[in-house]
Symmetry: C2
Subunit: 298 residues, 2 copies
Amino acid sequence: MGELGSVAVVGVGRMGANIARRLRDVGYRVTAAFDSRRAVAESLAEELGASSPGRLAEVTAAADTILTVVSDDAAMHAVFAESGDSLLEGSRGKLFVNCATISPRVHVEVERLAESRGASSLEACMASSIPQAREGTLYLMAGGRREAFDRARPMLERMSSAVRYIGPAGTAAQVKALVNMVMNSNTAALAEGLGLGAALGLDLTTLREIFAQTGANSRVLETDGADMQAREHEVYFSAAHATKDSGIALELANEQRLDVPVAAAAKAQYDRMVALGLGELDKSGVAELTFPGRQGAR
Amino acid sequence: MGELGSVAVVGVGRMGANIARRLRDVGYRVTAAFDSRRAVAESLAEELGASSPGRLAEVTAAADTILTVVSDDAAMHAVFAESGDSLLEGSRGKLFVNCATISPRVHVEVERLAESRGASSLEACMASSIPQAREGTLYLMAGGRREAFDRARPMLERMSSAVRYIGPAGTAAQVKALVNMVMNSNTAALAEGLGLGAALGLDLTTLREIFAQTGANSRVLETDGADMQAREHEVYFSAAHATKDSGIALELANEQRLDVPVAAAAKAQYDRMVALGLGELDKSGVAELTFPGRQGAR
């Protein structure tokens, strides 16, 4: 074990922890785990026989590759701080692989900062969820320099069932934002179709079958349709994440001065879920807003 | 030829004409064609060796089964008028098969009117488009009495690759409205994703491939994605129809006091296409509103 090299993980949510477990399973040495919630990092570190340093600089020192899976732009800026404790400290020769879903421009900034210290940086955006992280079957989209991609590739391939190099820093994050924007719109649209079907007293299993055989078919019908009907909203991809990701896409649209009213309407639904305290439900929980008698219906 | 019985067609749009051609091909006698645009009816009648009566009552007299494929609720009310010239005149024992996409309640009214004259009525809602009508591979959803369905079934099976009995009058039209509502939302959402991708300078063929492999996948990605990229908006299902069908669904939602904001945003896009004079483009033409530099972009 461990012959493939050493990895540190920064950001120990469900995704980060599962990626770390997967990399351990396939032969990487996971040497350090870091999270702003110290206890979470310690727990994973104990599980994997890693350290849980108190300082980011120690995380960088502990591994060849530092994988970041933080929650948002602010967290990304915090771990790559230009002064004070930072992953950038002593990072010459290190490779940062950044898996968080954040704004494309932050990936560009991080690449610039890393390179200014003699380190490499690659964005590896994930278009899949928690079980895929554990099983090493993520769909990964990489953005950054070719050399950084080639260096990270052996690890990315062990994390995923498909790796796709998109282009320079920021482009993979753009594609990821667009994937999630369309996915979130389709999910909210499906919840409306099934919710209205329920209101009309139609048989929803039949309705889903018909959707699947017609122009209403979609990937989210397969993944979320039955869950909407059954009110099973165990989280794979939370409504809070949906709001964040659609927000990134809407900001891109705004920068491009492009109207995307359907995506905006879908984001407003996820915002409403968060406002109602439903943000930690799976994105399929948007059906709580569109099925008569459910908690967010109106 | 003709041993299967006689059929008259009311409403000679592309769908009605193609259904009539298909039924002629498989052995029905098409005896009459009617349209408010007289020349269109005469042209199809000539092609199929049918008559083109000036009065609706003559249409009913000409066939055992009268297939209606009219454009909207008002046209449906007009051909099933309670007084004056009407398909209802002399309709005892006849079977009406109503294929138009109209409001569910109008199907219920037509069934009541037909039965009051001793005729039968069935709604046969189509979830497919012009080529499928010609080839007899429609996806059909039937609503009405079981006896009417059993009587119409041999003909419906020759028009379609799948026939599904949904329930009493109005229910098939409800399902159809929901299918199209979700389809229209997904289409408008896809146009936003691809349009924003274009604005960002991403390779759209790659983007479509990634959509297809992720949670952004949908039937409309398969049918409309390449057309949006290539600006090929030859009509299969027009934006004007999309607006009408989404309008029927939104009215159902309104009656049920259910919010469907994503569907409403999608309908507003199709309304805008119509307002811009783009209503006769295919629904994929909604990309004209979301790709930078195209005619409806803003």
